[in-house]
């Protein structure tokens, strides 16, 4: 009952009615327009209500245009044509006129006609059976078994899949490393990649790392399956995973995504559609991350530092594996070890050391630079973020005017993560010519500083890990041979050490969250919207709108 106040009707204003009438060449009086507007609202509501019935009987959650048209047809109203496509329609706004419209691009017929990739028909509907639960108990070894869908793949791929999964899940570290390296470099496994999601869901962290890696390297060419697969998994992980794995890579991801989304050619349609999905997945993951982080901060502020939902394991491993020493950075260790050590740590099952939490405000601002208002829209309904969201709109307007470039990149330490990210993107310029982020010189030092920490940690562990490092270092030479990757790929995850240094302590369990949150001054500089300004508008709205409380279907019209 309490939320009843929040609810609104979708209303068509009398101005809109008058505009539409003008469009049809009719002049309307005020009272007529008002009456019409009211009636239009009522009819719309009525049609929506009856269309939801079609949705329910089709056993769907999403209200489609088709449902609405059926409702219209049954009430003897002409159906609305031209909106039957399955994909979401980008809803754009014109800032000046407060106008919203559906993007309707010109179709390049020549390109369409001469396109060589004729779309194949839809895959045929089929039924597949699997025994889900035996005697009421779940299948006990879901990870080890080959997913049924994989069986339709070629024998070679299947064998490859089995070998790889066995290697990764097995005990032999050497075998695992080989497998991981091959996963990084092998360009022919695109068809298999979605199925690694199965593995991921079973093995969680370390394989997530792999997938990220994969997508990181193959992304320009294979965003459809590669980007999608691991990302969809993110939402089911705890938010710490998102913070640690996704967040640092985001700038790199972003460039790819942007390139994909900017490409309007027909041949890119499928990939672009997937890109939109990826965008949504990231947005969801990030939103959750922010919310949970804010929540955890407020919780720890209340004096329950360890009580984060879903973080029990993480917290425990953090404590166990960080023996209270934070080795000073050694600036001279070689940067090339980056990837290998990263994998290394992933394989060892613990990588909490090399990751330093980013304070919430900074994180929000950075994320805001990517997502713009659509983040704010999603986030504004959430709990406990009162102090920071209000400042963002002004930042937004400022940053829009700001020209993107290396100069603006260099202002503050806060932007270090982005800088290093740029560095990471640069090798991919051959792959996707649309992204041209300048590699600033400063970032080099950043990553150089970052790496030693990880390596020193390894040294403190065991001698075997040292040998692994070496072999990993060697295997780095494989990368140039790979088709889509370029030699100098430094995992941007390290760049956060700079942020970490800025923030200070790391060794008190979950405490740093609290202290940081309390002590960090409001972010002084505005992050340049290097990425945001290029991204086509997806769900970015002029002003924040409250999310409907009950959004079973998109056209829901609450009271």
């Amino acid at each position: 009952m309490a939320d009843r106040e929040e609810r609104r009707f979708a209303e068509v204003s009398r101005e809109s009615v008058r505009l539409m009438a003008e469009g049809a060449g009719v002049e309307l009086g005020d009272d007529v327009a008002a009456l019409l507007a009211e009636d239009v609202c009522y009819r719309l509501r009525e049609a929506t209500q009856s269309s939801s019935q079609f949705m329910r009987h089709a056993k769907r959650r999403k209200l489609t245009v088709e449902d609405f048209n059926r409702a219209l047809r049954w009430s003897n109203v002409e159906a609305v044509c031209g909106y039957g496509a399955q994909d979401a329609l980008p809803f754009r706004s014109v800032k000046e006129g407060e106008l919203f419209f559906v993007e309707d691009r010109d179709v390049n017929l020549v390109e369409l006609a001469l396109a060589t990739n004729i779309p194949k028909g839809c895959a045929e509907t089929m039924v597949r059976v699997n025994v889900s639960y035996l005697d009421g108990k779940g299948n006990l070894e879901p990870q080890g078994t080959v997913p049924t869908a994989v069986q339709s793949l070629s024998d070679d791929l299947l064998k490859y899949y089995q070998q790889i999964t066995r290697a990764i899940l097995g005990e032999d570290p050497h075998l695992m490393k080989v497998a991981l390296l091959d996963l990084q470099s092998n360009s022919k496994i695109a068809a298999l990649l979605p199925y690694f999601v199965y593995v991921i869901s079973g093995v969680s962290f370390r394989v997530t790392q792999i997938s990220i890696y994969d997508s990181h390297h193959h992304a320009p060419l294979l965003p459809s399956c590669v980007l999608n697969a691991p990302l969809s998994v993110f939402t089911c992980f705890c938010w710490q995973a998102v913070e640690r794995v996704l967040f640092p890579h985001l700038p790199a991801y972003w460039a790819n995504l942007q390139a994909v989304l900017d490409d309007y050619s027909v041949s890119n349609a499928q990939v672009k559609a997937d890109g939109h999905k990826v965008y949504g997945a990231i947005l969801v993951a990030v939103e959750r991350l922010l919310k949970m982080k804010a929540l955890s901060l407020s919780q720890s502020a209340e004096g329950h530092p360890g009580a984060h939902p879903g973080s029990v394991v993480g917290a425990a491993s953090y404590r166990v594996n960080s023996p209270g020493l934070s080795p000073p950075p050694e600036p001279l260790s070689e940067a090339a070890l980056g990837i290998a050590s990263h994998l290394q740590v992933g394989g060892a099952g613990c990588h909490w050391e090399e990751w330093t939490p980013v304070p919430l405000p900074a994180m929000y601002c950075e994320l805001y630079s990517f997502f713009g208002d659509s983040l704010a829209v999603r986030f504004s309904t959430g709990p406990g973020f009162g102090t920071h969201s209000p400042c963002t709109p002004s930042q937004l307007s400022d940053s829009r005017k700001e020209p993107p470039g290396p100069a603006s990149n260099l202002d503050t330490t806060r932007k270090m993560p982005q800088l290093t990210a740029n560095l990471n993107i640069s090798p991919r310029q051959d792959g996707s010519p649309r992204t041209d982020p300048p590699p600033p010189s400063l970032s080099g030092t950043g990553s150089v500083r970052a790496v030693p920490r990880a390596s020193s940690m390894q040294r403190s562990k065991s001698s075997s890990s040292c040998s692994r490092q070496r072999s990993a270092g060697l295997s780095r030479e494989v990368f140039p041979k790979a088709r889509f990757t370029s030699p100098q790929t430094t995992p941007p995850v390290f760049s956060f050490l700079i942020g970490g240094r800025q923030m200070g302590q790391r060794c008190q369990g979950r405490r740093p969250f609290q202290t940081m949150f309390a002590t960090t001054p409001p972010v002084p500089a505005v992050p340049p919207r290097t990425y945001a300004h290029k991204l086509p508008v997806i769900g970015r709205v002029g002003k924040p709108v409250r999310r409907w409380t009950c959004s079973h279907y998109s056209l829901h019209l609450p009271l």
Binding site: Q49, A58, W74, C122, V127, Y133, G136
Partner: protein, 742 residues
């Protein structure tokens, strides 16, 4: 009969309050709120006609008279005569009214006949429509709405309502819960009255002020109401019409009712009293007032609870006697089993079967209550197969949960709308949003068509394997697609003999498909709106369908017109199920009620209320005693058909329940939902724990314990597949189906 008592007391009260004689049933435009208590048709004449004729119920009589009037007016004198003779009405019953019908108001001062005259003429106008305005298309609407046309002071509505609210909030706790039931119907009617009389701003203010007080399960209806602010919009609004055409039923104890009555009399709160008189049906019972939880369990439907007498009809819920079929002693089978156990087992089994079939279940309908098709040889074979399989059936229970097999529809593109399995689990059919019906063979046996007529001429008709020879091997495939519908296929059902398939669609037709030729045989046209569900009788031949037109129809495959029309639901019929003995049909509806209909008479024999959302799944227990229902509110409710009572509530699902199925022996209830889970419930325990003492049975006041968690045996999740169909194989393996929804 409590209902009679209730209406009697209504009549008493009427004389208490009444200040002026009633004029006619509608359209009294005397201004001010001291409005004349118009004798609303049913309550007014229930007293009168009861004295006159005991045999015909007052409602029936009225209807008859109205029909007679209508016929007469249309100069169908012969029909009038026939109907009159059939109904056994005296010849003069019509004469005085025919003359009166023009001047609808019958003065109404005096006797029974005159009172009835008034009623008839008002009824008549319902039937014939008001000739004055010429709105011939929706006569019903006009009459119904005109009940609102009196004028009260719109500003006083809030005062009245809040006065009543204040009163109810201050009464004793035990009465408060009961009297609070009045709020919602009163609120709606007062709001509609305001809207109808063009007091838009007052209506809005009224809504704003009091809509928050209503129970949360009325939210959906309130949403519809809130959009309705103009008199013009009232005409086409179906939800509103439902509310108007039916009386909202409340069950209130006598004490509470007296309390309310006294209060309203003291305050001269006639506005509210009128509404209670006219639009509410108060079912008064003697005894303890019900608690809030008891009330909440039963309320939630569009038109209140069911009247108690609506569930008093005897229902023959027992199973029909199975025909005796000789189980052929299959030697191979015997040898395969162990030697000593089998023959021994078989003998007593036969005996028990024989004795069982001799002794008629007292609750079962007579074998030929409705004519059923005779068993064919193939049916007998199938029965034998069934019995063989049944001996290998796993006994399920708390410690022995079924295995679950999931049939995932891939590449359905969100288009899978209905699924059905054959009873022997050999075929699976899917209905799709693209109007197609597809059938897959689940076994290695492929689907084949019958040969063409020319080829059939060539085969040897005397050969033993003629049934095999007629099949065209060239057409063998794993699946077949059938085209014919022109809208999404919402319901699908195999015939028990696996020769036919039914599908119901948005295009308003139900189609019968042959699974031998994979072509459409018949399109049954009767529903002119989307048909949401259809199902074959367990004995074949009959089938039931229900849809947007709020009517369920019973068909026989060889009749192109329905045999029965079951009407009474106030909103779409969303699902239809046959009772295992084929004598009854259950329908679930968006009006949040379940009705059970007698196939023989076409009458509604049970009305179950308690769901808070549209009902999307129904399942009869194998012994025919119980009914389970699932709705959008995510709850499963269990009903005792014989007693007409709610006997259980299973909470756990978080989204619409689209499928329900009892295991073959009825020990376990499986529910499949939009929330991507299958849940198993201990049905045996749920039904065993019942305390069906006489008091509960007599009053209908159920007291449910909240033991969902104890009854929940397991929750099985899918990855991302809503479960839209469930089926237990003959050996009690659970099959689930749904479309992968990435």
């Amino acid at each position: 009969m409590a209902a009679v008592q209730g209406s009697m007391s209504d009549a008493d009260i009427k004389t208490d309050i009444k200040t002026e004689p009633s004029t006619d049933g509608f359209g009294n435009n005397n201004a001010n709120d001291g409005r004349v208590l118009s004798a609303s048709p049913s309550s007014g004449s229930s007293t009168g006609s009861n004295k006159q004729t005991a045999a015909v119920t007052p409602e029936d009589q009225q209807t008859l008279l109205a029909v007679l009037q209508f016929l007469k007016k249309n100069k169908l004198t012969e029909s009038v005569e026939i109907l009159r003779r059939e109904a056994g009405l005296p010849e003069n019953s019509l004469d005085p009214k025919a003359t009166e019908s023009a001047g609808a108001g019958s003065g109404g001062a005096a006797g029974i006949v005159d009172l009835e005259g008034g009623d008839v003429s008002s009824l008549l106008s319902r039937v014939t429509g008001s000739s004055s305005a010429g709105a011939q298309d929706q006569p019903d609407v006009r009459v119904v709405l005109s009940a609102y046309s009196q004028q009260g002071d719109p500003t006083l509505y809030e005062v009245y309502y809040s006065d009543l609210k204040k009163f109810i909030e201050t009464v004793l706790d035990c009465h408060r819960a009961e009297l609070s039931q009045v709020f919602y119907p009163l609120f709606v009617h007062m709001y509609l009255e305001l809207v109808y009389n063009n007091h838009e701003s007052e209506a809005k203010a009224f809504f704003e002020k009091f809509s928050g007080d209503q129970e949360c399960y009325y939210e959906d209806d309130l949403r519809v109401l809130s959009g309705l602010t103009k008199k013009e919009h009232m005409r086409g609004n179906e939800t509103l019409l439902d509310f108007r055409t039916s009386k909202f039923v409340l069950r209130i104890s006598r004490d509470s009712y007296q309390l309310l009555k006294r209060h309203l009399q003291e305050r001269q709160n006639n506005q509210i009293w009128n509404i209670i008189q006219e639009h509410l049906y108060i079912d008064i019972f003697d005894g303890m007032p019900r608690s809030k939880s008891q009330i909440d369990a039963m309320s939630g439907s569009l038109a209140g609870e069911a009247k108690r007498e609506a569930n008093k009809t005897k229902v023959y819920y027992g199973l029909l006697k199975e025909p005796e079929i000789e189980l052929p002693l299959d030697d191979e089978d015997e040898e395969a089993e162990n030697e000593e156990g089998k023959p021994k087992k078989k003998k007593p089994k036969k005996d028990s079967m024989g004795s069982k079939s001799k002794k008629q279940d007292p609750n079962a309908p007579s074998q030929n209550r409705i004519p059923l098709p005779e068993l064919k040889d193939s049916d007998k074979l199938d029965k034998i197969m069934y019995m063989k399989e049944a001996t290998k059936r796993i006994r399920l229970g708390l410690d022995n949960l079924p295995s679950v097999c999931f049939y995932t529809f891939l590449n359905a593109y969100q288009g899978l709308t209905a699924v059905d399995f054959t009873d022997d689990s050999s075929l699976i059919a899917g209905g799709f949003a693209d109007s197609t019906v597809r059938v897959w063979s689940v076994t290695p046996k492929k689907l084949r068509k019958v040969k063409s007529a020319a080829d059939l001429n060539l085969i040897d008709k005397e050969s033993d394997d003629v049934l095999e020879r007629i099949m065209d091997e060239k057409t063998a495939s794993e699946s077949k697609i059938m085209y014919g519908h022109s809208g999404p296929v919402y319901g699908i059902s195999f015939s028990p003999d696996r020769n036919y398939l039914l599908s119901s669609s948005e295009d308003g037709t139900v189609r019968l498909w042959s699974l031998l030729t994979f072509t459409c045989l018949v399109a049954y046209k009767g529903h002119n709106y989307p048909v949401w569900d259809t199902q074959f009788s367990p004995y074949g031949y009959y089938f039931v369908s229900g849809g947007h037109d709020r009517v369920a129809r019973l068909w026989a495959t060889d009749h192109y017109q329905p045999l029965r029309i079951f009407s009474g639901h106030l909103a779409d019929i969303t699902c239809t199920r046959f009772h295992p003995n084929s004598n009854y049909v259950a329908t679930g509806s968006s009006d949040r009620t379940i009705r059970v209909w007698d196939v023989l008479s076409g009458n509604c024999v049970r009305i179950f209320t308690g769901h808070k959302g549209p009902i999307h799944s129904l399942a009869f227990s194998p012994n025919g005693k119980f009914l389970a229902s699932g709705a959008t509110d995510g709850r499963v409710l269990l009903w005792d058909i014989g007693h007409g009572l709610m006997v259980g509530e299973l909470k756990g699902h978080t989204d619409t329940i689209y499928s329900l199925r009892f295991s073959r022996d009825g020990e376990i209830l499986a529910s499949g939902s939009m929330d991507n889970t299958v849940r198993l419930w201990d049905a045996m325990k749920a039904f065993d724990d019942l305390e069906t003492d006489d008091f509960t049975a007599a009053t209908g006041h159920i007291h449910l314990q909240d033991n969902s968690q104890e009854l929940l045996l397991g929750t099985y999740t899918t990855k991302s597949t809503p479960v839209i169909h469930l089926h237990f194989t003959r050996r009690n393996l659970l099959l689930a189906a749904g479309a992968f929804n990435p």
